[in-house]
Symmetry: C2
Subunit: 435 residues, 2 copies
C-alpha cells in the first residue's frame, strides 16, 4: 500500500512538483549532461525534508546502510543499476570484497549488508565480506535480522592488495564510512576502492557537501526559474568549537543568529509564518550523533553538561570541533500521525527506491536519525521514475519522482564535492613536494 501522505501546506511545494513534472524532459536532459561530466558515486542515500513549502536534502550518505529497508520488489532495479555502476567503475572486476561497518550487533545493519551482497551478486560479481574488526580471529558466521547468515572474514593485507583467504578481489566496495580514520590496511592499495577513501568521514565535511550542493541547486533552480532556496537549506560553519570546554560558543551563537536571520528573511519573502529554526551538527558527523535543534541564540548559550556531552563526541569516539549550522526544514509529512522523513536510495545515477523514516516520538522540527532511536522503515510502494503525468501533483508517484530529482541533485553535489576534495588534496601534496 502507498502510505497515506499529508502535507499541511499546499502552496509552493505543489508548485515545485507541478514545475518538475511539466519540465521533465529538460530536467532529465540536464541530469544526463551533468552525470556525463562527473563521476557519480557508486551508491548514495539522501535524507530529505519536505516542509510543504520547501523540499531539501539534509544529509547525503555515501555509505548507505539501509538497503534492507527498500521494497524487495525493486531488487532487479538495484541489480541493473549496480551493473551500470560496475561497467563504468571497474568493468574488469569479477571478485569484489565488501567492507562493512564493524558493529555486528546491529542485526538490521547486517541485513543491509546481506541485501547489498545479493545485489552485487545479482550484478554478476563474486562477493565476500572483508571485516575490519580488529579482533576477528577468523571467518565468523553472523545472523542478520532476516535470518540470513553472513560470513565475515578478516581482511588481510598482502603487499599493495587486500585479500581474504583464497580470495584476491579486483575491487573493494566500502560500506564503512571511515569515521574513525582510514585504517593502514586500506591505504595505498593497487585495487580500485569505491567510494574513494577521501569520501569517508575522516576527510569529508558536511559544509563542503552543502557548498557543492548550493552550486548544483542554483544551476537547477535557474533551469526551472525558481528561487534556489526552495531546494537548498541555508547553512554556515564554525571551525573551532569545543563543547566539553565551552570553547567557540560566541562563534556558534553568531552563526546561529546569522542562519536564523537569513531563514526569517526568506520566510518573510515567501509569506511563511512558521518560526525559523536551525540544526547544529558535527561537520564530520554521521549516524545522527552530535545533533541539536536550536530556535534562538539562547539555545546554544548556557548549554548544560548533559547537552554538551551529547554534542562533544560522535561515532568512533571522535571529538567534535567543527560544526555545521543548517537551516531546519520542517517535516510536514506524516504517516498515520507520526512524523516521516523520506530517504532516497541511489546506485550510480539511478534512483532505486526509498523509504520513510517514521518516528512516533519525535517532533516535526527534530532530527529523525538518532542513535538508539527506533524508527519504522516504510518502503515506498512505487518507484521514483514513473510519474503519472496525468495525476495531480502530490499523488505518490509524482511526489516520489520529485524526491528522486532532489536526491539526484544531492548525489551530483557529492560527485562535485569529492572531485574538489581530490583536487585540494593533490594541490596540497604538490605544494608539500615543492617545499
Amino acid at each position: 500500500m502507498v502510505p497515506h501522505l499529508t502535507t499541511s501546506l499546499t502552496g509552493p511545494l505543489h508548485e515545485l512538483e507541478r514545475l518538475v513534472l511539466a519540465r521533465r524532459p529538460e530536467i532529465e536532459r540536464w541530469f544526463r549532461a551533468r552525470f556525463a561530466e562527473h563521476e557519480v558515486p557508486f551508491y548514495s542515500s539522501v535524507d530529505l525534508r519536505n516542509s510543504g513549502f520547501k523540499l531539501a536534502p539534509v544529509d547525503t550518505n555515501l555509505f548507505p546502510g539501509g538497503f534492507n529497508n527498500l521494497n524487495p520488489d525493486f531488487l532487479p532495479l538495484c541489480i541493473h543499476a549496480a551493473m551500470s555502476a560496475i561497467q563504468k567503475l571497474c568493468p574488469d572486476a569479477q571478485k569484489l570484497v565488501l567492507v562493512p561497518e564493524n558493529h555486528t550487533r546491529n542485526l538490521f545493519y547486517l541485513q543491509n549488508v546481506a541485501t547489498l551482497k545479493r545485489i552485487l551478486e545479482g550484478a554478476g560479481l563474486a562477493v565476500r565480506i572483508g571485516s575490519l574488526i580488529p579482533d576477528l580471529a577468523g571467518p565468523t558466521e553472523v545472523e542478520a535480522a532476516g535470518g540470513e547468515r553472513l560470513l565475515l572474514e578478516p581482511l588481510k593485507r598482502r603487499g599493495n592488495r587486500v585479500v581474504l583467504d583464497g580470495f584476491d578481489p579486483c575491487a573493494v566496495l566500502l560500506n564503512n564510512d571511515l569515521s574513525g580514520g582510514v585504517p593502514a590496511l586500506l591505504q595505498g592499495l593497487e585495487q580500485r576502492v569505491v567510494p574513494p577513501l577521501i569520501a569517508g568521514w575522516s576527510t569529508r565535511r558536511k559544509t563542503q557537501h552543502f557548498t557543492a550542493y548550493e552550486g548544483v541547486a542554483e544551476d537547477f533552480a535557474e533551469l526551472l526559474g525558481i528561487d534556489p532556496w526552495f531546494l537548498n537549506p541555508v547553512f554556515s560553519q564554525c571551525g573551532q568549537v569545543n563543547f566539553a570546554e565551552k570553547a567557540g560558543e560566541d562563534c556558534l551563537a553568531a552563526n546561529v543568529e546569522e542562519v536564523l536571520a537569513q531563514v526569517r528573511e526568506k520566510y518573510d519573502e515567501h509569506g511563511i509564518t512558521a518560526a525559523p529554526f536551525a540544526i547544529v551538527k558535527a561537520d564530520a558527523g554521521t549516524y545522527g550523533m552530535g545533533i541539536m535543534t536550536v530556535k534562538g541564540v539562547d539555545d546554544v548559550r548556557n548549554l548544560n553538561r548533559k547537552a554538551r556531552n551529547k554534542m562533544s563526541v560522535i561515532k568512533e569516539g571522535q571529538p567534535v570541533t567543527e560544526v555545521i549550522i543548517q537551516e531546519g526544514v520542517y517535516t510536514f509529512e506524516d504517516v498515520d500521525g507520526a512524523v516521516a522523513e523520506p530517504v532516497i536510495y541511489m546506485i550510480d545515477q539511478f534512483v532505486v527506491g526509498g523509504f520513510y523514516r517514521v518516528h512516533d516520538a519525535r517532533g516535526k522540527d527534530e532530527n529523525l536519525n538518532s542513535p538508539g532511536m527506533e524508527f519504522r522503515p516504510l518502503a515506498f510502494e512505487t518507484d521514483c521514475h514513473s510519474p503519472d503525468c496525468a495525476g495531480a501533483p502530490g499523488d505518490p508517484p509524482n511526489r516520489f519522482y520529485t524526491y528522486g530529482v532532489v536526491a539526484r541533485l544531492a548525489t551530483l553535489a557529492a560527485a562535485v564535492e569529492i572531485e574538489e576534495m581530490a583536487m585540494r588534496i593533490d594541490e596540497t601534496a604538490s605544494v608539500a613536494a615543492r617545499a
Copy 2:
C-alpha cells in the same frame, strides 16, 4: 504465478544451466567487456527455443513489437534501461519521435506502441508518434488494446529533418522494421536515427545475423568449455530461390540435406535420438511469414501451389529470393500442455523481461510466430537477473537467467552484424566513388 515449466529431457540443458550459474561472475565480466567494445542495439527481442538438450536463439528482432506483453511490474526496469540507452546514444535528446509500423488495426501492436511511449516518457523524453501511413490526412487518434488512446501524427520532412506539427525532435526511434524499404522521408536525416536504417529488413539478412552469432557463440562456448552447438543452430543459405517459378529447388534441396546431415551428426555425437528437422525462412523475413518446417529433402521438392504461394512473399508484399535453412530446435517447454517459446526483451544491454509465446494448436517442431495465429503471451513472473544460486538448475529464476544470457549473446551478435554491415556499405561506397 510462475508458469509450470516442463522439459522432457533433463540432460545437457541442466548441465548448461549449472555451468552458467556456476560461472556467473566470469560470464558477466565477459559481457561487460564485449558490450564496452560494441554499440549495443537500442532495444531487441530474441526468440529462443529450448529443447532441453539445446538452448538457442532462432530470431533476433531489432524493432521489438511486444512490450505490451511484459510483466507491468518491470516497467521501472525498462525505464532505467532506456535511461542508460539514451545516455549513451543521444544524451542531448529531449524530444523524440517514435515511428511505428503502419498496421493500425492490430490493437495489440498499438498497445506495444503505447507501452514503449510510456517507457520513453518515463526516461524523461517528450515523445510523439510520427506515422509513415501514406494517406494519414492529419493527427488521428487510435485506441490500443488496453483502451489507451494514441495520437498518430503524419511524419513530415523539413530539409534534412523529420518533424511533426510544432515538434522538432532531436532523435528518431524506429519501431518499424522497414520491410518495404527505407522511405525517402527517412533518408539522409541529420537527426540521430535508432536503430540505424541499415538495421531494417530491407538490408538485414538472417544469415548475416547468424554468421555473427556463430562467432559470439564460439567465444562464449570457449569461456564455458562446451560445444558451441548447444547454443548455436546450424544454418545455411540459398540465394536464388523463386518459389512461384519453382526456381532454385536444387540449391534448396542440397542445403536442406547438408543442414540435416550436420544436425544428425551432432545428435549422434551427443546421443540424441530425436529426428532432425530444419526450418526454411525468408532471409530478409520477419513476422513469421514465409516459413516452413522440413524433415527431409522431399519436403522442399514437389511443393504444391499453396505451399509455394505461402513461401513466395513476405511482409509488405516483398518477394522471397533468399532463404535461410536453419536447424530446427525442438520446443520441449510447455505451459499447461501447450507448446511454449520464450521471448526475451532487452533495452540497451539489460534484459528487461520476457514472455512465453504459448501456442495451443502447434507442434513442438513448428514455428510459433505466424501471421494470424493467436498466441497467449505469458509474462515471466520473475526478472532475468536474479538467479537464486541456491536453487536447482531448472528453477524458474535460474532458467530465466540462462535465457537472459543466451538473449544477450544474440543481441551482442546483432551489434557485430550491424557494425559489419556498416563497414561493407562504406567499402562499397568508396569503391563506387573510385570507379
